[in-house]
């Protein structure tokens, strides 16, 4: 105690913070030859999500399934062909907070979750061709009479912390001069609970997440997805930046799947048919924008979709 009295803690704090930033600066250097790396190590690491709707989720027991995991498995099969050997696939569960650093530093080779392709992220990572287009929508209680975002002025609107929907609401408030009372759930299940318990009048979120939560609720008929599409976001598989050879394998696989109809078939399997573990249906046939993207594959960021 006496020693510290003479040396202000603040100096220690500053030194520590500086040290951390230096460490971060060097630790993230990583070679950009994924094909060479997996060939040498004999294993490839897939970044997966615990609950990103039907795109990527866990069945427990270290098993991960979903639409994007199907696509990634096809890509890995083609990587094996290119490498000329069988690869062991490892799974790493990522979160929206750590997925980008983990791809950058080489912990994860290919991230198969629900990552929006936007220009800010393109500075750090690269994306395969867009395989799914997300539309941000509004879920309300069926008997609420709300049919449009304009009716939400002064109402409690729920959304989930750590999602782009929070920012969409904020931008909409400023642009339209309306005032939402935002309430934030810490995850989608809690945001839905806010709507269910009456603390919120609406839940604004990615359409597939709303559909999934409604499907799993006690009484799905009590809820409705209404109103205009608030934002359109291309969701894509994420890989390291400046790795043209690996991106080509991923993109070619997706092109092949789109051409053969496998992409649509896999989508149907996860978003329309009953899915494990409870054999429920998400009930969300491919939207027009998603189908348009499959017909005209691209890796444009979200900002390009907004212009249309």
């Amino acid at each position: 105690m006496r020693i510290f009295q003479k040396t202000p803690f603040t100096v220690c704090a500053a030194v520590l913070a500086w040290g951390m930033s230096m460490g971060a600066g060097t630790a993230f250097a990583q070679s950009n030859d994924t094909l060479g790396k997996v060939k040498a190590s004999g294993e490839i690491t897939m970044g997966v999500r615990d609950s990103s709707g039907a795109l990527s989720y866990t069945l427990g027991d270290g098993k991960y399934v979903g639409f994007h995991i199907d696509v990634c498995q096809k890509i890995i099969a083609n990587v094996e062909k290119a490498a000329g050997k069988k690869l062991e696939t490892k799974y790493v569960s990522v979160t929206s907070q750590n997925r980008i650093p983990l791809v950058q530093n080489g912990t994860v080779d290919i991230e198969c979750g629900s990552t929006t392709n936007n220009t800010a992220r393109q500075k750090d990572v690269s994306f395969a061709l867009t395989t799914y287009v997300e539309e941000v929508r509004i879920a309300v209680k069926a008997n609420s009479g709300i049919t449009s975002i304009n009716q939400l002025n002064g109402k409690n609107v729920a959304t989930t912390t750590g999602t782009t929907s929070v920012q969409i609401l904020r931008k909409h408030e400023r642009a339209a001069g309306v005032d939402f009372k935002e309430v934030f759930g810490k995850d989608h299940a809690e945001s839905f609970l806010l709507l269910e318990s009456g603390r919120a009048d609406a839940f604004v979120m990615d359409g597939q997440i709303l559909a999934g939560n409604i499907a799993l609720s006690k009484n799905p008929a009590d809820y409705k997805i209404v109103g205009e599409v608030l934002s359109v976001e291309p969701i894509a598989i994420m890989i390291r930046k400046d790795d043209a050879a690996f991106k080509k394998v991923a993109d070619d696989t997706i092109r092949e799947m789109a051409k053969s109809g496998d992409l649509a078939k896999s989508y149907d399997k996860w978003f329309v048919q009953p899915i494990p573990p409870k054999n429920t249906r998400v009930g969300l046939p491919a939207s027009e924008t998603t189908r348009a993207t499959w017909a005209n594959l691209n890796d444009k960021p979200m900002e390009d979709y907004a212009k249309k």
């Binding site: 105690m1 006496r2 510290f4 803690f9 603040t10 704090a13 913070a17 951390m20 930033s21 971060a24 600066g25 993230f28 250097a29 929206s96 907070q97 750590n98 980008i100 650093p101 950058q104 936007n118 800010a120 992220r121 500075k123 750090d124 912390t161 750590g162 999602t163 782009t164 929070v166 920012q167 904020r170 931008k171 408030e173 400023r174 935002e182 309430v183 934030f184 759930g185 810490k186 809690e190 609970l193 318990s197 009456g198 603390r199």
Partner: protein, 242 residues
């Protein structure tokens, strides 16, 4: 990867910069912590004293029940009980803002821990002090006001300092019920800006500054209240820190 601190000067889409938002979030963190502290200290002192009363077994038991109730349920669960469950049982509580619900939850949770510190402080005093006070004809409240509490408070100031710092850091659970404090800012802003390292570093530094300020402030109080000749953590007899 290079750090891009200018991210804090960009607009968040609602007409304010991330820096302004960060400072607002810091304000919420300090607000929640301070308000909860104002609930925790009086409640904790009261319950702690109740547990040491002699010849009042009902009050003593009540104090014990309070401590066990709030100490044995995880904080996050308590927050959800206050936020989701109690308003279902008592519809009037639906009018409470989440800020006050968090302040109550955090304050009562911490009060159980502070009560134990007060009890320990009072019980650490030699029995003779209580008896001397009684022999002088003090009423119970006078005994506590003039004899026991002044001595006990000085003894427990170091653990009270730790607990106050804990309270500040525990306020991060408020993000779970929609308070836009530092932790929520970190989760949200890193998603919007994709600059998680910068955001988390800034938030970490603010937490450290806040906790260290509390530490310095209460250590200053400790030194000011010190009675010459009495042993204390600053005295020559004890050299351990806290």
């Amino acid at each position: 990867m290079t750090l891009e601190w200018q991210v804090f000067l960009t607009d968040d889409g609602g007409g304010r910069t991330y820096l302004e938002w960060l400072l607002q979030a810091w304000g919420w963190t300090l607000g929640v912590a301070l308000a909860a502290w104002c609930v925790a200290i009086p409640c904790g002192a009261l319950i702690g004293v109740m547990r040491t009363l002699q010849g009042a077994p009902v009050l003593s038991r009540l104090g014990q029940a309070w401590v066990e109730l709030f100490r044995n349920i995880p904080l996050l669960v308590q927050i959800f009980l206050w936020y989701f469950v109690l308003p279902k049982l008592f519809p009037a509580m639906q009018q409470f803002s989440s800020f006050w619900l968090v302040v109550i939850a955090l304050g009562l949770f911490t009060s159980a821990r502070i009560a134990e510190q007060f009890r320990a402080g009072i019980e650490s005093l030699p029995k003779g002090q209580r008896y001397a006070g009684m022999a002088l004809g003090f009423k119970t409240w006078q005994l506590y006001r003039y004899v026991l509490l002044p001595a006990a408070l000085r003894i427990i100031l170091p653990p009270l300092t730790s607990e106050s710092m804990n309270l500040l850091k525990n306020s991060s659970v408020a993000f779970a019920v929609s308070i836009t404090e530092l932790t929520m800012f970190a989760m949200q802003a890193q998603e919007e800006t994709s600059r998680g390292i910068e955001i988390y570093l800034a938030v970490t530094v603010l937490y450290m500054i806040s906790a260290l300020t509390i530490n310095r402030l209460l250590t200053w109080v400790e030194v000011r209240l010190r009675i010459p000749g009495q042993p204390s953590s600053k005295g020559p007899s004890l050299t351990t820190g806290h």
